[in-house]
Amino acid sequence: MFTIVRREEMAGGTVILNEIEAPQIARKARPGQFVILKANEEGERIPLTMAETDPEKGTITIIYMVVGKSTALFRDLKVGDGYQDVIGPLGKATHLEKVGKVVCVGGGTGVAVLHPITRALKEIGNDVTCIIGARTKDLLILEEQMKNASHDLRICTDDGSYGHHGFVTEVLKEILEQGDVKQVVAIGPVPMMKAVSAITKTYDVPTMVSLNPIMVDGTGMCGGCRVSVGGATKFACVDGPEFDGHQVDYDELMMRLRAYQEDEKKCHESYCTIRDAR
């Protein structure tokens, strides 16, 4: 068992942080890599990016949004409980390079994934601006951490309750207008990454995105995670999860992410019913 040693709730309990004992993984993990977790015998294998690792303590930290049955089940795990299986580190580590001015754009729990990458980009000497967004102020996560990880933090909310009223893409455009941006990193909901990539393409700024297709094994043996990048099929779990944002077929990714929608809904609803009855 992989024991949970710390648990926090964010964004009004819709986003959960777990710090988990996994010394072998903590030792090897690099920014951008993910793990697959399975709560119990009947559980599903769920990929989540490591938001933090502590090789000395032997722990990894995940931050996830509760969206369906499996993440709801994860939410119910307390400190001292654990995951039956944690597998990793998986995927390629982020390619980090000193290029000059970098803009990191994060939305939703993508901010958690973005955090270690942002910090690493700053550490190697880039000038890092960060734009993070959420629907509303209460759903914003890791504001303090992102402030520390970057030189300049911009905040956007869809409803205007905090920071810029509007989308991250609007702020991004302003910054790109000023010129000099050498690299953009965008991690968040697929429509956000699609919109960011469309804009950066017009400014011809290289853009890296992190893709989240449905996965099973995470080791390249099932092909369930395939995505189209520059017209070629890639397995996101081994060839990614990070890709050139200008080459990704986002519409295909969105369709593939909906593959099990009906089943997932039923599964989640029945879990909530059973849980509420207890």
């Binding site: 499996s70 094994d217 080791t219 092909g223 519409d251």
Partner: protein, 467 residues
């Protein structure tokens, strides 16, 4: 003993009714009784130069175990089997007997060969259900540590052989459960998972340690295993890279590799969804591409999950179908249709990106190709459409580069498989052996086990004598 033995017909294997079993996951053949097994055993002529043994890749002493079975010494029979084959309950069920042992049985020249697979299975099952479970004797500890990467039949064989020779053995498995294809690939109705679990439990009782969730190449590298104090490493990671057709529309929702489909069904038990959390697509009109064992398993699983119809689409003819005869026969009994000499050219989808059909071409057989099989060539203008909402691609698999690409000093051939020395399984990297599908390409359980046994002998020599 009225009839001469060779005149008797082969004892049929009792099976679940096709109509019933096509909708459940219980094992299809229900097994011989003692009386049935002994009656079948009596058909063996106890040849002095048995062809059957030549046909078995690991040289099981077939007349020997059959004779013990005839005498009622079932423990003796199973021990005899074990001496050549660590997993008789598995091999009895899944070996392609018709081209191996049974294909060379003298009785088969005039009639039906002795049912060697069924008898092997019977002995192993009997021991499992009635035996004492007594462990074989172990030699005294050598103090040497061996890491086995991958827990398929090949890795399990190496582990079992080396633990009794006194070495300290740890298996590293990427998945959360041990067993390789025996667990994630071959379905319950053909190989009950309880049998595999018991074999693995047997190894654990012998002292083999199993570390699941250990992706070698990621969680730990081969070189780190040596740093951790292992003296030798066996690589038996299988051929787990799915091949696709590379035709337009392949990423539509509803097209899965057989690896994904069977992993969801078997390892994740998705056929019990929503009792378990992993979903699996339920197809009403299902097409399976390919005609090997993997294709048959996928097709029969789809039928059990409630398909209205399931079609096997294969570009060659019946003679070339690589699946075991029994699987093809069982599949057809269960209502699976064969669309032979048919090749898909593109997939058709709707506005939501979901599969609705497939365009195919009819083929005819032309000149023989490199493999000696007549090459299928398309018939001009023969395009037609098959409606389908689920397509499972079972056209073969390749070498997964996850571990090998992290191990540059281990030589690969041009297809990415590990190069090994014949007879020993030694790789070009000192202290590292390899065998099974990662060396041969997708093959069979018994070949993977045979390679494991050879490597285990060589590893033992290395640990006791030197490289």
């Amino acid at each position: 003993m009225a009839d001469k033995p060779e005149k008797r017909t082969r004892m049929p294997m009792p099976e679940q009714d096709p109509q019933v079993r096509a909708r459940n996951f219980l094992e299809v053949p229900t097994g011989y009784t003692v009386a049935m097994a002994q009656e079948e055993a009596a058909r063996c002529l106890q040849c002095k130069k048995p062809g059957c043994v030549e046909g078995c890749p690991v040289g099981v002493d077939i007349p020997g175990f059959i004779s013990l079975l005839s005498k009622g010494d079932l423990t003796g029979a199973v021990r005899n089997l074990w001496s050549k084959n660590a997993l008789p309950a598995v091999c009895g069920r899944v070996c392609p007997q018709e081209i191996q042992c049974e294909g060379k049985c003298i009785v088969g020249k005039k009639g039906q060969p002795v049912a060697i697979g069924n008898l092997e299975r019977f002995c192993a099952d009997y021991e499992r259900e009635h035996g004492t479970g007594e462990l074989p004797p172990k030699q005294k500890p050598t103090g040497k540590k061996v890491a086995v990467v991958g827990s398929g039949p090949s890795g399990l064989t190496v582990a079992g052989d080396l633990i009794v020779k006194g070495h300290d053995v740890t298996i590293f498995e990427a998945f959360h459960k041990a067993g390789g294809v025996l667990i994630y690939g071959i379905p319950e109705f053909r190989l009950p998972k309880a049998i595999v679990a018991q074999e693995i439990n047997f190894l654990e009782r012998l002292g083999v340690k199993i570390e699941v969730n250990a992706v070698v190449g990621r969680t730990v590298s081969l070189d780190e295993l040596f740093e951790q104090g292992f003296d030798a490493v066996y690589v038996g990671v299988g051929a787990g890279l799915p091949r696709f057709m590379n035709i337009p529309g392949e990423n539509l929702v509803g097209i899965l590799s057989a690896n994904e489909y069977l992993t969801r069904a078997n390892l994740m038990k998705a056929y019990q969804f929503p009792k378990v959390d992993t979903p699996i697509p339920i197809g009403k009109q299902v097409v399976v591409l390919g005609a090997g064992n993997v294709a048959m398993d996928a097709a029969r699983t789809a039928m059990r999950l409630g398909a209205d119809n399931v079609k096997i689409v294969y570009r060659r003819s019946r003679e070339e179908m690589p699946a075991r005869k029994a699987e093809i026969h069982h599949a057809e009994e269960e209502g699976i249709e064969m669309f032979l000499l048919t090749n898909p050219t593109r997939y058709l989808g709707n506005d939501n990106g979901r599969l609705i059909g497939m365009e195919c071409l009819r083929m005819e057989l032309g000149e023989p190709d490199d493999s000696g099989r007549r090459r299928p060539v398309p018939i001009k203008g023969s395009e037609f459409t098959i409606d389908c909402d689920l397509c499972i691609v079972a056209v073969g698999s390749g070498a997964n580069p996850l571990l090998t690409s992290e191990t540059p000093d281990m030589q690969l051939n041009r297809w990415g498989y590990v190069v090994t020395e014949e007879k020993t399984g030694k790789t070009t990297k000192k202290g590292v052996w390899a065998g099974g599908d990662i060396v041969t390409g997708a093959a069979t359980v018994i070949l993977a086990m045979g390679a494991g046994r050879q490597a285990a002998d060589s590893i033992h020599d290395y640990l006791t004598i030197g490289w």
